[in-house]
């Protein structure tokens, strides 16, 4: 078997060269690099993080591990390898890119993870009211999470801390299943997976309904492509004849398997519809795309999924949909909501935003080159083209605020990466035999590919953990949030400086939670913001005013995102302390809790 050519991504001649000793070394190197990266990330002091996020704070050994892991990956390409090697390499990359979130800080990264724990906790305690918020209208994920936490007996914060790593691993399974339906070529599966894991700085892999939704989306696509797929027999060339010539036949002859797979897809679709509002819509349109290119043997599937969606919106989610339309796009414009409004803030934050855009553009550019190469080489399998493009068609259609571009990028990323692998494949090492013995490949090609992937990896770490200064929480901040819940009366309004607050993991429905970031959106000036807060305190007079939490992370978030400078924040807090009726309830090194009494709004104008 040693001279059997591997199926080609490119015209480069490569040989299937089994080298068990080399494989063992490569696998060990990959896992070692992953472990070293986690150990290195765990040593970072969260209080030492700057505006550039985690990357500048990482020790040189982390970057050595990045290069070592990518070198191991490159040496696994272009030849036959042991069956365990690719999973070992992917495990190394998962550790390197996704585990730092699990070992940094005093709890899960991202405030929304804490909130999701709170929703599950509320539901486990019998709170199940669709009037509370959107989570109670698409609740499918949370009872499952409550079951997992209660049944396993694991600490909820630990579950949330390790969720990104587990989700990324599960997504990897889904992606290889999808890609396997598109190609039998090992390298055409593992290179896109590698690029996906690097390009996915988008932060949807935390403990969330959309993370589970994305997994189900991938598996439904894998089943439709792999089991419920169709091909056209007797077709004719040319676009005009595409939909008329030939007849559609199933790719799998086994009718029993197709019927059962269809049933399974329907079960997964029902779960998906109950879990997340956006994902089933993207899935339905992706399935329509596959039907239009005549590659699905289940043309009614998107119709059924659409009906399920409508039924869910009409009944379980009807409360939320009043005033929250799903369709309609963003009034402020897609580009403004998704890009312009996000690329603002401090210098370090702008550099991180630049890296995020550059990384995304780099993967898209490689994908575009791959599309051209693929088309020119005569590849007319339209499925990956459709699945890469359809999510972007949702951009102006769905009303999902400034996150829509991030979401559609994630949905298309596996297929963009599929095409992006094609130009990169020409950099794979060329394994040859000399005098009947395996010879080393040329070092130039190996080093160039390693360097390129390492640069992309460095960009990924920079982009993914670029907000670490405010989305990773310290023990003092967590302690202050605990005190906040102890000090504030039940049913009262809690206000935090910014959305980056590790709260709501308990007593989810017991309080109303607001943020200075949202309340003062119209004018972040200290005086105007104080006035806004006291208007709220007056409004909440019946509850004795409001309780306000200001943390280190809150201040960093407001400053880094260009909303309140350090001076403005200091002025705002000094003004707060000077107001009659304001009392400091708690303070530690990184957080303060104030009580703002009502009837003090008239005093605000006299504050500095």
């Amino acid at each position: 078997m040693t001279n059997v050519a591997v199926r080609q991504l490119t015209d480069v001649a490569v040989r299937a060269v089994p080298r068990p000793g080399v494989d063992l070394g490569i696998g060990a190197l990959a896992l070692l690099c992953g472990g070293v990266a986690v150990w290195s990330a765990a040593g970072v002091e969260t209080t030492a993080l700057g505006d550039g996020g985690l990357a500048p704070a990482l020790a040189p050994v982390f970057w050595v591990a990045v290069v070592g892991l990518n070198l191991a990956f490159v040496l696994s390409l272009g030849r036959r390898v042991a069956v365990w090697l690719s999973p070992a390499l992917v495990a190394g990359l998962l550790l390197l890119l996704y585990a730092p979130a699990s070992v940094l800080g005093a709890g899960p990264r991202l405030a929304v993870s804490w909130r999701h724990l709170g929703v599950a906790d509320a539901m486990a305690n019998g709170v199940f009211d669709p009037r509370i918020d959107v989570y109670f209208n698409w609740p499918g994920f949370f009872p499952g999470l409550a079951t997992f936490i209660e049944a396993t007996g694991l600490p909820p914060l630990q579950v949330a801390m390790w969720a990104p790593l587990v989700n990324a691993a599960l997504w990897s399974l889904g992606i290889v299943a999808v890609l396997r339906a598109l190609t039998p070529d090992k390298d055409a599966i593992v290179i896109p997976l590698w690029l996906f894991l690097i390009g996915n700085w988008i932060d949807q892999d935390y403990l969330s309904p959309q993370a589970l939704g994305f997994l189900l989306h991938l598996v439904v696509l894998a089943l439709v492509l792999g089991v419920l797929g169709a091909r056209v027999q007797g077709g004719a060339s040319g676009l005009r004849n595409f939909w008329r010539a030939g007849s559609r036949v199933p790719e799998r002859a086994d009718g029993r398997l197709r019927r059962l797979a269809l049933g399974l897809v329907l079960v997964l679709s029902v779960a998906l519809v109950s879990i997340h509002q956006l994902t089933p819509i993207v899935l339905a349109f992706s399935l329509v795309g596959l039907v239009l290119v005549r590659r699905s043997w289940a043309p009614l599937l998107p119709v059924i999924l659409g009906l399920l969606l409508v039924l869910w919106m009409l009944y379980p989610a009807s409360t939320y949909l009043v005033g929250h339309p799903v369709f309609g796009g963003d009034d402020g414009g897609v580009v403004q909501a998704n890009l312009t409004e996000r690329v603002v803030g401090s210098r370090g934050h702008l550099i991180v935003q630049g890296v995020r855009i550059a990384l995304t553009v780099a993967v898209w550019t490689l994908g575009a080159i791959g599309v051209v190469q693929s088309w020119r080489s005569g590849r007319r399998d339209l499925r990956p083209y459709v699945l890469a493009v359809v999510p972007f068609l949702m951009l102006p259609v769905l009303n999902y605020g400034g996150e829509m571009l991030l979401r559609v990028t994630l949905f298309s990323l596996p297929f963009v990466a599929f095409f992006a692998a094609r130009p990169l494949a020409s950099l794979r090492p060329r394994w040859r035999h000399r005098a009947g013995r395996p010879a080393r490949p040329g070092t130039g090609r190996v080093l160039a590919f390693t360097l390129l992937l390492s640069l992309l990896c460095a960009g990924s770490v920079t982009a993914k953990y670029g907000n670490a200064r405010f989305d990773i929480f310290t023990a003092d901040e967590v302690e202050a949030v605990g005190m906040l819940h102890d000090l504030a009366p039940a049913g009262s309004v809690l206000v935090a400086g910014a959305s980056s607050t590790p709260w709501a993991s308990q007593d989810y429905s017991r309080y109303t939670r607001r943020t200075v970031q949202a309340l003062c959106e119209a004018d972040f000036g200290p005086t105007a913001c104080l006035h806004t807060l006291h208007e709220l305190a007056d409004h909440e007079a019946a509850a004795g005013g409001i309780t306000l939490l200001l943390t280190r992370g809150n201040q960093a978030a407001l400053r880094m995102q260009g909303q309140m400078s350090a001076d403005d924040f200091a002025q705002f807090e000094a003004g707060l302390r000077g107001l009659p009726g304001t009392s400091l309830l708690f303070a530690n090194r990184e957080a303060r809790i104030y009580r703002l009494a009502p009837h003090a709004a008239e005093a605000v104008g006299s504050q500095p």
Binding site: T152, L215, V219
Partner: protein, 125 residues
């Protein structure tokens, strides 16, 4: 290891003919939820519960479908398990009778039912 069921055989005889993997899944579908409900020490409790929530129902379903493609099989097992966990828990929540014990029990029942159907059915050609 599978053996073909013959018409006219009695139920105990048919159960005796159940192929080993399906019989194993039936046993795990009964034992694992029971083990988790008794709340043994960690990590036994976490492993038992996670096996039921993330593995067993999907494994039973993937075997029932006779998925030949290993990568698809590997992806289907956890995703179907998690989807069934979400569906079972949400259904019980809407019915107002949710408890983690009941959810585990229903997932164990799904595993047992699907594995038994697979084991007692005709073997794959």
């Amino acid at each position: 290891m599978s053996s073909e069921s013959r018409p006219g055989t009695t139920r105990p005889a048919r159960l005796g003919q159940m192929e080993r993997l399906s019989a194993g899944l039936v046993a795990l579908g009964v034992l694992m939820p029971l083990l988790a409900v008794t709340q043994p020490v960690q990590p036994v409790r976490a492993l038992a519960a996670a096996t039921v929530l993330m593995c067993l129902p999907g494994l039973a379903v993937a075997r029932f479908l006779r998925l030949r493609e290993p990568l698809l099989f590997l992806a289907v097992v956890p995703s179907v398990s998690l989807a069934l966990t979400a569906l079972a828990a949400t259904g019980l929540m809407y019915a107002g009778v949710w408890s983690w014990q009941l959810t585990l029990g229903s997932l164990g029942a799904v595993t047992v039912a699907v594995a038994a159907i697979t084991g007692l059915g005709d073997p794959p050609p």
